[in-house]
Amino acid sequence: MTLTATRELAIDIGGMPILVRTDSAEFAALLEDRYGSFIHAPSGDRIFSLDIDLIPPRTIEEDEDVRVRMESGCWIITRGDFRAEFDPRTGHGWVRQSPNPYSIDGVLRILHSLFLASEGGFLVHAASAVRNGRAFLFAGVSGAGKTTLSRLAPPDCEVLTDEISYVRPATEPRPTEPRPTEPRHTEPRPSGSGYVAFGTPFAGELARIGANLRAPLAALYLLVQGPENRIEPVDPTAAVRAVLRNILFFAHDEELVGLVFQSVFDFVAQVPVHRLIFTPDARVWELIA
């Protein structure tokens, strides 16, 4: 008889811990290495959970896009390298994948985008950083300068991510559902836009997980590289279009798409959106305070 011990790791992103269970000590170690400060010991509170079903590595259909659909009340998530199911009613699901960090990372991004859609938040292609207790987002497609700006961040900034930012309306946890694993707050905590940005382990070219903290969101900048550093106003409709263009959303579910659309309007109504024209020079941070 072979005995295997199940490892449990709570990966806590955005104050929404997901308990990951695996029978493989090697895979658990890989997760600990990958998610670092975003891993907490499991607590007794209700959190989401995922069982990992490891399969041998195989040839991956690289061209296969991610597909997310709802079937019989469960989210079915497939990509060339994994298959996952998640039941939002029970908060439980499973992932079948080979032992690699990229598949589980994809599943986590998709699940968080689904969780956030119903909470008025979203994941967005943006770097983010905290300065003087306030968070700033820098949105743009690949090559817009997210990683460059993150590398140029001065010592008094904490980079939340250089690739995918986590945003949701600022709401206090309900008394019946305490979240002891909530990321630490930055100090001071000035009143913000009504939105909060969280650090994420979703890194881009910086190849370093973000700081695991949260801060009230002060502004979102749309990145444009140019010959000088300056900030320009953006009209609200252009802001909505730009934010929508940068949002990560995978599900072909009309109700959720409608919710994200409404969330972006609410966001633009409350969070200042500007265009940041910048040259790759640390002085650009003199404009961000």
Binding site: D235, T237, V257, G258
Partner: protein, 102 residues
Amino acid sequence: MTTYLARSKQVAARMLGGEMMIMSPRDTTLFNLNDVGSVIWESADGKTPLDEIIARLCAEFDVTPDVARQDAETFIQELAEHGIMHVSDRPITAEPPRQEPT
């Protein structure tokens, strides 16, 4: 033949800065409606005939009936192709069954 128009109930729409923005949840195409488009959109209640909507356009904007009709039909066809406007030769009282894109 009388034509009737109805906004899809599934559509996501918001007014921002005096401009109506609507998105097709089916394919996430985003539309900004100008003043004329907004009048058509607001009038598309399933009960108001297209002829009456065109008369409203001519009354509100400096446009001839022929030009208004041509512009309206182009606009309506585009929205209908994205499943966010329904068109019928009789009043529309319920959301028509969804047609999957071919």
